[in-house]
């Protein structure tokens, strides 16, 4: 009952005109960003962070805006998967497999509607999962001392590469790069400057928002400049949507699929390093195995559309659990959301629930509200978004670039930061070419200082004894999971990734 009263307080926070307006704006922008190929949830949120700051929004309103964008992008990704056979973002890749065949059969409207409902079911259940699971996780997290936190951070880094990269050396490289960048600036404990090379601008450290926008948004612009593709993709194709209400029989047929997929997706989201792409992938694979008796999956089976959409939206909600309860994000977009919290001087983790209950419960209530808004937006109003898909990259990408510049300049007003951002953009482009994952870099710059502080605190408390790091059963368990999480993907991850690639290739439509 305590939960319900907290949730009630949350609704009191969320139900102001400003917050409702922000949620609506976030859902709308998020759906557009998800639908547009080339703009996924993480770049979408990254571009909007500076805006949230420059507007001087408080913590709760800013989070409501940005998580609405996050949920919205998860909904929007399916639109271009179904209509154009181009995934709007990575998790929507699996939706292409059955969504596009349905559209070719003239059932685009039904596909959009059933996937909209599946998205709703997935994120609705995941939000309940978040409410039930996060406080339990907080209870465990309260037992953590500095040594356990250090192990937890290590766990996050070591498992993060898991699915996002086939080469663990490269994800370790990325994590070290991010951590190394975080060290720049004046050391918080002794006050000596580190790695600043006498440059005064660097004494404060690198602003991680600059790094995020550069790595995610600008590098995307560079990729488009290099390939100049996509100009012909959207143009000249006629989009006919058809009826937008699914027959009751179809909904009934898909209901068990949605429920199972939501559960699996949520689990995938909570686990560190898995995230939404894996959520949609395992949901689809499991449904195919369970209910595909006539071999209709891949040829336009509505259940093949419902499964990945319920899965990836549930994973999006699940990924918020470790971010809020432990302060350790499980996916790229939640890492970006963590950046927002840190910049607002709010440290996620167990204390967040005790010190800022209004932020937590306001956010959760806003997620419910956003969900209903998204359902309303994504079924009757889906026509608007299909028109947005017609915007070609030659118009879209300059806007993305310029909004990134405006946002960063709006925060700091310094040319130096803009130059650093361009530098990160180039670096992001090169690293993407070399298949080095970007998320560990972001996570490293975000968590580097906290990780070091916990290490130093733990060892200082124990008078310089380094073995204190593996002194408690809890930290030994965390280290064991971390090592397992690092080694396992070397064997298993390659297989999963390969199968994901194969499925995608069969449909002839893989863009990253």
């Amino acid at each position: 009952m305590e939960l319900l009263s907290s949730l009630g307080d949350g609704f009191a926070v969320a139900l102001t005109w400003q917050n409702l307006g922000l949620a609506l704006l976030g859902c709308f922008l998020g759906t557009i960003m998800g639908a547009l190929p080339g703009l996924g949830p993480s770049n979408g949120v990254a571009i909007l962070i500076p805006l949230a700051f420059s507007l001087g929004l408080g913590a709760t309103p800013a989070l409501i805006l940005l998580t609405s964008v996050y949920y919205g992008a998860m909904y929007g990704g399916r639109i271009s998967s179904i209509l154009l056979n181009i995934p709007g973002d990575e998790p929507a890749m699996m939706t292409c497999l059955d969504g596009y065949p349905m559209a070719q059969k003239g059932m685009a409207g039904e596909a959009l509607a059933i996937s909209g409902i599946a998205s709703f079911v997935g994120s609705f259940l995941a939000t309940w999962g978040l409410i039930l699971l996060a406080p339990q996780l907080v209870k465990i997290a309260l037992l953590f001392g500095p040594a356990e936190y250090f192990a937890l951070f290590a766990l996050a880094f070591m498992t993060l590469g898991g699915v996002s990269s086939t080469n663990q050396a490269k994800s370790a490289f990325a994590a070290a790069l991010g951590l190394g960048l975080a060290m720049i600036g004046v050391d918080t404990q002794t006050g000596v400057p580190r790695f600043t090379f006498g440059e005064v601008h660097l004494y404060d450290g690198l602003d991680f928002l600059v790094a995020i926008v550069g790595l995610f948004a600008l590098s995307e612009v560079f990729i488009f400049l290099e390939e100049r593709h996509g100009a012909a993709d959207a143009a000249g194709r006629k989009l006919t949507v058809g009826r937008l209400t699914p027959p009751a029989a179809m909904v009934k047929e898909c209901t068990p699929t949605m429920l199972r997929s939501s559960f699996l997706g949520f689990l995938a989201g909570v686990l560190p390093g898995a995230g939404a792409s894996l959520g949609s992938f395992i949901s689809y694979s499991m449904e195919k195995r369970l209910v595909d008796r006539k071999g209709t999956f891949g040829k336009g089976d509505p259940r093949g559309v419902a499964a990945p959409e319920a899965g990836n939206n549930a994973a999006a909600g699940g990924a918020l659990v470790p971010m809020l309860a432990l302060g350790v994000p499980g996916s790229g977009t939640t890492a970006v959301l963590l950046a927002v919290l840190l910049s607002l001087n709010i440290t996620p983790g167990p204390l967040l629930f005790a010190n800022n209950p209004d932020v937590v419960w306001g956010l959760i209530a806003a997620l419910f509200i956003a969900n209903f808004m998204l359902l309303a937006m994504n079924i009757p109003m889906v026509g608007i978004f299909t028109r947005v898909l017609m915007v070609p990259p030659r118009i879209l990408m300059p806007i993305v670039a310029m909004v990134s510049f405006v946002g960063i300049y709006g925060i700091s007003g310094s040319t130096f930061d803009l130059l650093v951002m361009i530098g990160f953009g180039i670096m992001g482009w090169g690293l993407r070419k070399l298949d080095v994952p970007l998320v560990p870099i972001i996570l490293g710059t975000l968590l580097g200082n906290a990780m070091e502080n916990n290490l130093r605190r733990a060892i200082t408390i124990d008078n310089g004894n380094w073995f204190t790091l593996i002194d408690s059963p809890l930290s030994i368990a965390l280290w064991a999971f971390a090592i397992l999480g690092f080694l396992l993907p070397i064997f298993v991850g390659r297989m999963v990734k390969m199968r994901m690639r194969q499925r995608g290739d069969a449909e002839g439509s893989v863009i990253d």
């Binding site: 490289f173 000596v192 390939e227 310029m402 060892i459």
Partner: protein
């Protein structure tokens, strides 16, 4: 080959990082760990992972032809110029040129690019400055 070069570069970077870490001046009032230890741990991981990348390279990525690279370099130059000239020229003018350039290079016609540039710039100015009240760089003409 790309991964070999990348890995070798990473190893050198790690050595440089470790060297820079050793150069950090210790304060006389320090905790038990000090400001050097964690950077040195990072340098170790950095170096080891780079070495693995060097020894076990992935398949060659798809690099663009020279012309495309020049294209990227030109875009970078334009962006740097944009960053430097923003306080001088003012937001609207600088942004219009930069957006028009990018749009042109992404395949718009000259007229289309000019329209995109002006549209982007004025659109952002109206939404972000006039409606949302964000302070943008003010040029000699007042916008």
């Amino acid at each position: 080959m790309s991964d070999r070069i990348f890995g070798a570069f990473g190893v050198f970077l790690a050595l440089g990082y470790a060297y820079a870490a050793l150069q950090i001046e210790e304060s006389f009032l320090s905790d038990a760990v000090g400001p050097k230890a964690f950077p040195l741990i990072i340098a170790t991981i950095f170096g080891l992972s780079s070495a693995v990348i060097f020894l076990r390279p992935d398949a060659e990525p798809h690099w663009p032809a020279f012309g495309r690279l020049a294209e990227l370099a030109a875009a970078v130059v334009v962006m740097v110029l944009y960053a430097e000239l923003l306080p001088e020229a003012g937001f609207v003018i600088a942004t219009a040129f930069a957006a028009a350039y990018l749009s042109w290079r992404l395949g718009s016609t000259l007229i289309g690019a000019a329209l995109t540039g002006v549209g982007t710039s004025v659109g952002i100015y109206v939404v972000f400055h006039l409606v949302l009240g964000l302070s943008l760089a003010r040029g000699p003409l007042g916008f």
